[in-house]
C-alpha cells in the first residue's frame, strides 16, 4: 500500500510533463507486431515498421523502452540463413544506421564499417573502409538517396573489389 500512496502522490506532477508528447509522432510510425514472437527470418534487426526510415523506428521503438510495442519480433544474425543474407543484413543495417554509416564511410573508419565488414564476411575492415570511402559519391550521391540504392551501391563496391574478400560463406 505504501507503493500505491507514493505513486498516487507523484501522478499529478509527472502528468504535467511536457516531454511525453514528443514521442507520439514517432510512435505512430509503428505498424504493429506480427504474432506472439513476431516474424522470424534472416538479416539484421529488421523491424516490422513498414516504410518509415530506420532512424524513425529507433526513436519510435526504443524511447527509453517505454514506447516500444515490439515483442520478440526483431531479427538479426549472420548464420543459418542461406543465400541473400548479405544483402538483407546490409539493407537492415543501412536502414537503422544510415547517419552513422555515412559519417564512417566519409572517414574511412569507424564502428559502422566494422559491422558491415562482419555482416558481409569481408576480410579487413580497414580495406573495406578505404574502398567505401573512395566510392562515397556513388554510395551517397545525395542526402536523399534511398536505402535500397545505398545498400546496392555498398554491395557493388564490396563485390567489385575482390581483394576485400567479402561474401565468403
Amino acid at each position: 500500500m505504501t507503493r500505491l500512496s507514493l505513486a498516487l502522490a507523484v501522478v499529478a506532477v509527472l502528468a504535467a510533463s511536457p516531454a511525453l508528447a514528443q514521442s507520439d509522432d514517432t510512435k505512430s510510425a509503428i505498424k504493429g507486431t506480427p504474432g506472439r514472437y513476431g516474424a522470424a527470418g534472416c538479416g539484421l534487426g529488421s523491424m516490422a515498421f513498414g516504410d518509415q526510415p530506420g532512424g524513425v523506428q529507433i526513436l519510435a521503438a526504443t524511447t527509453n523502452g517505454t514506447f516500444g510495442t515490439q515483442t520478440f519480433g526483431i531479427t538479426t544474425g549472420t548464420s543459418n540463413c542461406g543465400p541473400g543474407v548479405f544483402a538483407q543484413g546490409t539493407k537492415n543495417f543501412v536502414e537503422a544506421n544510415r547517419e552513422a554509416l555515412a559519417k564512417d564511410i566519409s572517414r574511412g573508419e569507424g564502428e559502422a564499417i566494422g559491422a558491415l565488414t562482419v555482416i558481409n564476411s569481408c576480410g579487413d575492415s580497414r580495406a573495406v573502409g578505404a574502398a567505401l570511402q573512395r566510392n562515397f559519391k556513388s554510395i551517397f550521391p545525395t542526402e536523399n538517396a534511398s536505402n535500397e540504392d545505398v545498400t546496392s551501391a555498398i554491395l557493388e563496391t564490396l563485390n567489385g573489389e575482390k581483394s576485400l574478400g567479402c561474401f565468403r560463406s
Partner: protein, 643 residues
C-alpha cells in the same frame, strides 16, 4: 541434437546428453515428480527465481509475472510446487500443437534445462519435440556472454531522467580480427507497453502498475543510435562474468519472459528491477535484488547491485555519446581550427587554408560533421531539416574526397562519472539550527532520490540535478510546532553551459509545497510550483559554475493574501545560482531569488541562501546552511547520509 529443442541448453546444464533414440515413457514422469518432491525442488531458489515467485506478507508465494500463459498449473501464480509438476507433465505431453509456443518444451526452455539437470531426467524417455522458432532465436542471438548496459541520465524525458538499464547478449568474445563488434549483438530490455497518448493517463498508469511490462529484444545498434546519437547519452557497459551455462540459461529465460508480461510499476518493478530478476534467475548464485531499494529502484541501483557481487563485473566499457565525441575532437584542435569547424558547420563550402595538411583538414571536417549532428540530430533523423541535411551531405563529400582515413577516436574514460562510484540514491539528514527569533530548531531531511548540485559529484553528471520526493521537516521545540519547511515531488535543474558551439538554455522546475516566509501569510504552508529558464557558464577556473534565470512561480494556500485577495499568487523575477567546488570534498552553493508578486501583498519577496557541503566519505556529508527571507533568517547544520 535437433530432436530436443532445449538439448543445446541441457547439454550445458547436464553432464550426460541423450545417447539413444528417444522413446516416450510416461512412467518416467512419475519418477521425476517423485524425485522433485523428495528433493523439495520447488522450494529451491533456482526454481523460485525462474517463476519469479516472491514471498507474500502472509507467508505464501506469488509470482510477479502477470501473464496467464506463463503458468501451466491453474494456481501456478501462487503455487511453485504445482507449477513445477505441471511443467514436468507438460514436457511429457506429446499432443501435436499448431503453435510451438503452446508446447511446454518449446515455451519453457530454461525450466526444461533446470529441471532436467536437477532431476537427472533421461531425455531418451521424453517425447521428442521440434521447436524451429526457438532454435532460430538461439541461432540468431548466438549468445557467448552477457553485458549490463547503463544509459546515463536524460533530463529531457521524464521516463529516462534517472537513466535506463538493459542487458546485452554478446555474440562472441571476439568477432573479427580480435575485435568484438557489439553493434551486432542483441539488447534485451524490459519496458512498459504504452497504450495511451494522454500524458495524465500515462503518468497515472505508469505509477499505478496499469501498463503491461514486456521483455523485448533489439539489435543493439538501435540502442546505440537512439541513446548515443539522438539523445546524446553516454553508455556504460559492464561485461558480466557468467559461466557458459548461465549465459545459455539467461537467453532461454529471456525467451520465456518474451512471451508474457508483468504489471509495470514505474517506481519499483521497472526496467532495472526485472532485468536484475532475469539475471538472477539464470544464475542463482547471485544476489542482486537484495541490493536494491524497497520502494524505488533506480537504474544506478542496478549497477551498484552488480558490484555487490564481487567478481561479477569483468570489465567496464564506455561508449561516448555524440556530444562527448565532438568534445573529444574539439579538444585536439587549435583555436583557428575550431573557428574553421564553426564556419564549415554553417557554410560547408567555406575555404580551408591550403597550407593545412590533409590529416588536419580531415580532423576539422570530422568535427564539423559531428557538430551538425549534435545540433540537428533529431531533425535530421525525422527529415525535418533539409537545409542541415544538405550541409551535412556536402561536408561528408568533402571529407571523403580527402581520401585519408581518420584515426580511431580516442575518448578518455571519465572514471569519476562511472555510475558505480556514485553515492547512494536515498538521502537522510538530521541536524539543528537557530532562527532569528532565537528559537532552536531540529531538522529532518529526506530524499528518495537522486542527486543535487551539492551532493558528492562522483558518478553523476556534473551539471544536472534530479530529485524525487525531497522533503525537509522543521521542529520548533519552543513553539511546540512541526512544520513542513519545503518538499517537492520532483525537482529538476539542467545546466547547459553556453559555449561557442552550443547555446542551449538551462532550466529548472519543481512542484511541491513550501512554508511561506514573507508577509503573504508568514509561516503557512503553500502549494508551490516553479519554472525557470536562463543561461549558464560552467567550469570557470575548473571550479565555478554560474547560472542566471528568469523564473515564474505559483503559490497557493488558504490563508495567502494573493492576487486580488484570492488564496493564490503568481510571482516572477530573476534568480541566480553559483556553485563553487574545491576539489571533490567541498562544495559551496549560493542561490538568490527575487519575486515580483503582482496584485498580492506584499508586492515583492526574496530568498537568499547559501549552503556549504563537506563530503567526508562517499556516503556521508556535512551541510552548513544559511538563508534570508523577509520573515526568516536562520542558520543550520546537518549530517547527510546516502543509502
Amino acid at each position: 541434437m535437433g530432436t530436443f529443442p532445449a538439448a543445446l541448453l541441457v547439454s550445458l546444464a547436464l553432464a550426460g546428453a541423450p545417447a539413444s533414440a528417444p522413446r516416450p515413457d510416461p512412467a518416467h514422469l512419475a519418477e521425476l515428480i517423485a524425485r522433485a518432491r523428495e528433493q523439495r525442488l520447488a522450494e529451491e531458489v533456482g526454481w523460485l527465481r525462474l517463476g519469479h515467485w516472491r514471498r507474500t506478507l502472509l507467508g505464501g508465494w506469488k509470482s510477479e509475472v502477470d501473464g496467464a500463459q506463463f503458468f501451466l498449473a491453474p494456481r501456478g501464480k501462487r503455487d511453485p510446487a504445482a507449477e513445477l509438476e505441471a511443467t514436468l507433465a507438460g514436457f511429457f505431453d506429446d499432443q501435436p500443437r499448431a503453435d510451438e509456443l503452446d508446447d511446454a518444451q518449446c515455451r519453457f526452455p530454461a525450466r526444461f534445462a533446470f529441471l532436467a539437470g536437477k532431476l537427472g531426467a533421461d531425455l531418451s524417455r521424453l517425447p521428442p519435440r521440434r521447436c524451429p522458432r526457438l532454435e532460430e532465436f538461439l541461432a540468431r542471438v548466438h549468445p557467448q556472454g552477457a553485458t549490463m548496459v547503463f544509459s546515463s541520465y536524460y533530463l529531457n524525458n521524464p521516463a529516462s531522467a534517472f537513466g535506463h538499464t538493459l542487458l546485452r547478449l554478446d555474440k562472441a568474445p571476439e568477432a573479427l580480427g580480435g575485435k568484438h563488434f557489439e553493434l551486432l549483438d542483441y539488447g534485451v530490455d524490459y519496458a512498459a507497453t504504452v497504450d495511451t497518448r494522454n500524458a495524465v493517463l500515462y503518468a497515472a498508469k505508469g505509477l499505478l502498475g496499469f501498463f503491461k511490462g514486456e521483455f523485448k529484444h533489439y539489435a543493439y545498434y538501435y540502442k546505440v543510435r537512439q541513446y548515443g546519437d539522438y539523445e546524446s547519452r553516454d553508455l556504460w557497459e559492464y561485461d558480466l562474468d557468467l559461466a557458459p551455462g548461465e549465459v545459455a540459461l539467461l537467453t532461454a529465460h529471456v525467451w520465456e519472459l518474451g512471451g508474457t508480461y508483468f504489471a509495470y510499476w514505474y517506481l519499483d518493478e521497472n526496467c532495472s528491477y526485472h532485468v536484475l530478476g532475469a539475471l538472477e534467475a539464470a544464475a542463482p548464485r547471485l544476489r542482486l535484488l537484495d541490493h536494491v531499494g524497497r520502494f524505488v529502484v533506480l537504474p544506478s541501483d542496478t549497477i551498484h547491485a552488480l558490484f555487490a557481487n564481487p567478481g561479477l563485473v569483468r570489465q567496464v566499457h564506455y561508449r561516448p555519446s555524440i556530444r562527448t565525441q565532438f568534445e573529444a575532437r574539439a579538444r585536439s584542435l587549435s583555436p583557428p581550427q575550431l573557428d574553421l569547424v564553426e564556419r564549415l558547420a554553417r557554410d560547408p563550402a567555406a575555404p580551408v587554408p591550403g597550407a593545412l595538411a590533409s590529416t588536419d583538414q580531415a580532423a576539422v571536417l570530422d568535427a564539423s560533421v559531428d557538430l551538425v549532428d549534435l545540433r540537428h540530430a533529431r531533425d535530421l533523423l525525422l527529415g525535418k531539416d533539409p537545409v542541415a541535411a544538405g550541409r551535412r551531405q556536402e561536408l561528408l563529400e568533402r571529407r571523403a574526397a580527402l581520401a585519408v582515413p581518420s584515426p580511431p577516436l580516442e575518448v578518455p574514460v571519465p572514471a569519476d562519472r562511472r555510475p558505480e562510484v556514485g553515492h547512494g540514491s536515498l538521502r537522510l539528514g538530521v541536524g539543528g539550527g537557530v532562527d532569528r527569533r532565537g528559537g532552536g530548531t531540529v531538522l529532518l531531511d529526506l530524499r528518495l532520490a537522486l542527486h543535487d548540485l551539492g551532493d558528492p559529484g562522483e558518478g553523476f553528471p556534473a551539471l544536472a540535478q534530479i530529485e524525487f520526493l525531497p522533503a525537509r521537516l522543521r521542529w520548533l521545540p519552543r513553539e511546540g510546532r512541526l512544520e513542513l519547511d519545503d518538499a517537492s515531488l520532483v525537482r529538476v535543474l539542467s545546466i547547459n553551459p553556453v559555449n561557442r558551439f552550443d547555446i542551449k538554455p538551462s532550466w529548472r522546475m519543481r512542484a511541491g509545497a513550501t512554508t511561506v516566509r514573507d508577509g503573504g501569510c508568514a509561516g503557512c504552508t503553500a502549494f508551490a510550483a516553479e519554472l525557470g529558464g536562463g543561461f549558464a557558464t560552467a567550469d570557470l577556473a575548473g571550479a565555478l559554475d554560474l547560472l542566471a534565470m528568469g523564473e515564474v512561480e505559483l503559490l497557493a494556500a488558504p490563508g495567502l493574501e494573493g492576487a486580488a485577495g484570492a488564496g493564490w499568487r503568481p510571482g516572477l523575477g530573476p534568480s541566480a545560482l553559483a556553485r563553487l567546488r574545491l576539489g571533490s570534498r567541498v562544495t559551496f552553493l549560493a542561490d538568490a531569488r527575487w519575486r515580483f508578486l503582482p496584485g498580492a501583498r506584499p508586492r515583492a519577496s526574496h530568498l537568499l541562501s547559501g549552503v556549504l557541503r563537506l563530503h567526508l566519505a562517499r556516503d556521508l556529508s556535512l551541510a552548513l546552511e544559511a538563508r534570508h527571507a523577509p520573515a526568516t533568517r536562520d542558520v543550520s547544520a546537518l549530517v547527510l547520509g546516502y543509502f
